[in-house]
Structures are given as C-alpha cells and as structure tokens.
Symmetry: C2
Subunit: 284 residues, 2 copies
C-alpha cells in the first residue's frame, strides 16, 4: 500500500487485541492515511477497480468448483457511526452478484427459540462470496449485556461460543474481518440532530437511539470486553475511527482488499478443450 | 422522459403482448433513444441519482411500516445476452441495502420435490425492496419446454399457474417488470468466442451453451409462447434489444425508474415529536 498515500496497512495499524486499546483510538483520527478528505474520496473511487477484480476472481474460482474461500465483513457500531455508508459506498462498489448482505435486527420469536448463533450460521457467505453482516452475533454480547437481556454467566458462555464458532468458520475457508466503527458521542449528537432537522431523514431516527446514547459508557465497556474476549488470529478486530466518514470507508475498503489479496484468488483453468469448443462454436 | 434524449418511454415502446411481436424487435436496434453509445453511457451514469433517490424513498416508506410497495425485475435471456451486466451496471448503481437478488440455477433435488413456484415464492422481495430475478419461473416453460423436461399438458398448466401467481404477487403490492434481453445468434457467437479467447473469461464458458445455441429457433418459439400466454396488464413483458449492451442497460434502468415513479414513494412523516426529541437529544 506504499502507493495510494497509505503509510501503513490498515489491517496492521487498526488491529486491536486488548480491550484497553480501544481507548487509545481517537475517533477523529485518520491513522495511516496521509491525505485529506478530497484525497480520500479520490482514493476510494480509484481502488474500486482493484477490489472489483479481486472479488470477480474469488467468485470465478468458486464457480469452477475449485476454491472454497469466502470473505465475511462484520460491522458493529453505535448508531449513526456509518455502517450504512460502508455498505453503500464500499460494498456498493462491488458486483452485487458476488455479495451476500445480512442486516440483523432484534431477533424474532422464532430466532429467540434457538441459540443466538442459529440465525448467524444461516447467513454465512457461500464460497466465492463476500458476506457482509450489518450488526451480528456481537449484538448478543453488546446490547445483550448493557440491557441485561442475558445474565453474566450466559454472556460468558457466549464469548466462548463465539470464539469456537469463528474458529470453525475460519477453518471452513471464510476470512473474517471484524470492524467496530468508532465515533465520539459529540459526533453522534450532531448526526442525530441532522436527522431531526431533515424531513427526508426522519425515517432514520428512532427515539430509542437517545436511550442507547445515554448508556454510552456502558457500551464502550461492553466493546472493550468484546475485543478482549473475542480477538483471535483468525478473527481479529479492527477499530476504525469513524468521525470522518471518508476515512472509515477508505479503511474498510482496504481491509477487504487486504483479505482478498491474502487469498490471492486465481482465474480458474478451462475444464474443457478450448480448441475443440472453438470449432463447435464456429460450426454452430 | 422528454429530456435525456429518450423520445418515448421504454415502458411503452418496448412492451409486447403478442408472441408474434417478438419477431418485430431487431436485436441491434435502440428504440426510443436518440443518442449513441457515448450518450447512452453518460445517461446511465446521470440517471443513477434519480433511481437511487426513488429506491431510498421506497425503502424509507416501508421501514416506517406504512407502505407495502416493492418492485420485482425478472430477467430472462439467451446466454451471453447481458443479464449479469444489467445486475452489475444498473442494479449495482442502487444501495445494496435496498436490493434482494436471486439467481435461479437448475433446481435442486429438494426444489424438484415441490411445485415449480415454491422456490420462487420464497425469494419475492419484501416491502420496500427492489427484487431482481436472474432467471426465474420462466425457465420452467422455456428450457422446460425446449428440452422436454415437462410434457405439453404440464407446460400449459404452468402458463396458467404463472398468470395467477403474478396476479396475486401484483395485488400484494409488488410491481412486476418482466424483461427479455433480445440478442441475435450472430452476436451470441461473437460473445461466446470472446470467452474462449480470454483466460479470464473461461469460467463463464460452458460447453452446454453451444448445445442450447443449436436450439435457438426452439427457444424463440418458446419465448413467443411465453409472451403470448403470460402477458398481463399487471405483469407486462418488455423485449429489450440487447446487441448493444449500453442500450439494454439504459432501457432497463428506465423501466425501473418508471415503475418507481409510478409508485411515487414519499418520505414518511415523523412518528415522534420532533421538537421533544430535539430537547431530549440536546440534554443527552
């Protein structure tokens, strides 16, 4: 990434393993990227082609029945932190035929009758796909903990269950990218206020958002625990400063590119006789 | 659409109701659009914003629990006609969070144990979404007929079943846009040959494509029957000339815009007290 004004790879510089490390990430910083907003937006556009070609190779490899690799991007954040913008501007730059998007809301009655990972398992990406989770099983140890929807023992059980689950998912060929978009409370206040100022944004506003906001410190503590308990080499957490939307998008784009470059998917070889097919086609 | 160099609305000019009308559509024509390729590509880009805003309104309306409208784009075509390009370049211009894409392959053993519409019903778009079917229930009366996978009586039953199914789907609030991308056999030959010339395209080539190609006339006859038997005011067929990829993309984009403008989705009103929320937020 030496070119493109990244001074460090986001997959290195944004990785956190210890809960306390969360406090060291400034939401309004732009680590590893030396450019400004205009440079960042130009970069986002410029890197779309690289991401798109990697995604197409990944997809092609799986269609030929050879490769089992896939990518899973898990997005977690406080309200207004920009998950939607990541999906729209980063994931949206990729061929929709290669993307499986799952937005997890409050669990349904049926989902609540199963273990919390039941609905997650069903939405894991198939080989060749980029799966994106807009919220995820981490809600069950975030709002689940902050709101006391589960007791302390159950929360402990869930951390362990998540680690085992993600280990199995990774072993099946899915690269896991876990992202916490990190905004400041002041930035959230401004974004919520904007939703209240614009009638075309009312639908995005929910009075419950303020209730959650009032528990900001509890949520940050829950995130620290999540990072501490569920970081693993095969399923690392990246904490992405997100006060600057352009930076967060750029960083997540680069995390996706890094994961795909690591897979290094190749165009599959022909499983037919090219010359013979040329003749058949010519005669048709 | 008087602006934007369309002389007629694609939803009018491309509509067919009688099977014989298929023969009157020249695959290399660009009906209703007065510009060339460069103008068409510029137009596709320029109209993305209109499509995107309509989609966001559609989505917003459903999130507020008010509207039940949705859109379903059904794509049918001979191989290489450009379904993938439509998904990538037209649907890909829309926020992925508002799109539900279903690519129907040869039915699985489980799917074959059910009626042919069973797997289709499950993939209908939810309110607020744009659903896209890459192939569909029409395969069951196209390849199903040409390859004799079902007998003549069963094919007849399916036409009737489709008409009733689509009537119910439309009544539930889903606008149905059925598109046949229409290419010429010569154009297909060129496109298949290109896949055999480029190692990065091998994965898209299937020797079976030539087998189907040899039955071109049977497929056209089957498409004529489909148009004849399943055209309905609430589920019309559009035959889109597709030798020029740029034209087909532009036309389908406009069909989507027309359907959305017809729905005319509105930003939902606030279901909370805006002023009271401003105060709560300020105090938080």
């Amino acid at each position: 990434m030496g070119k493109h004004t990244w001074t460090d790879r986001p997959s290195d510089i944004l990785r956190v393993e210890k809960g306390a490390a969360l406090d060291a990430v400034a939401p309004d910083s732009t680590p590893g990227f030396s450019g400004d907003k205009a440079a960042g937006e130009a970069q986002l556009k410029a890197r779309r082609k690289a991401l798109g070609e990697l995604q197409e190779r990944l997809f092609a490899g799986s269609r030929a029945g050879e490769a089992t690799d896939a990518v899973l991007l898990v997005l977690q954040a406080m309200d207004t932190a920009g998950k939607g913008g990541i999906v729209r501007h980063v994931v949206g730059g990729v061929d929709p035929q290669g993307v499986e998007l799952a937005a997890f809301k409050a669990p349904t009655t049926e989902e609540l009758e199963h273990d919390f990972l039941w609905r997650i398992e069903k939405r894991l990406p198939q080989p060749g796909f980029i799966g994106v989770f807009d919220r995820s099983h981490y809600e069950d140890v975030l709002i689940g903990k902050v709101r006391g929807l589960a007791g302390p023992e159950e929360i402990e059980r869930r951390y362990d269950a998540i680690v085992e689950f993600e280990r199995r998912v990774a072993a099946s060929g899915i690269r896991i990218i876990k992202v916490m978009l990190h905004i400041s409370p002041d930035e959230q206040k401004e974004r919520l206020a904007e939703r209240l100022d614009r009638p075309d944004k009312y639908w995005k506003y929910n009075p419950g958002d303020v209730d959650e906001r009032l528990r900001w410190n509890d949520y940050m503590a829950a995130y620290r625990d999540v990072v501490e308990r569920t970081s693993a080499p095969e399923a690392p957490w990246s904490v992405v400063p997100a006060n600057h939307k352009w930076y967060a998008r750029l960083a997540v784009q680069e995390l996706l590119i890094d994961a795909l470059e690591d897979i290094d998917p190749q165009w599959p070889k022909a499983d037919f006789n090219v010359e013979a097919e040329r003749k058949r086609l010519a005669a048709s």
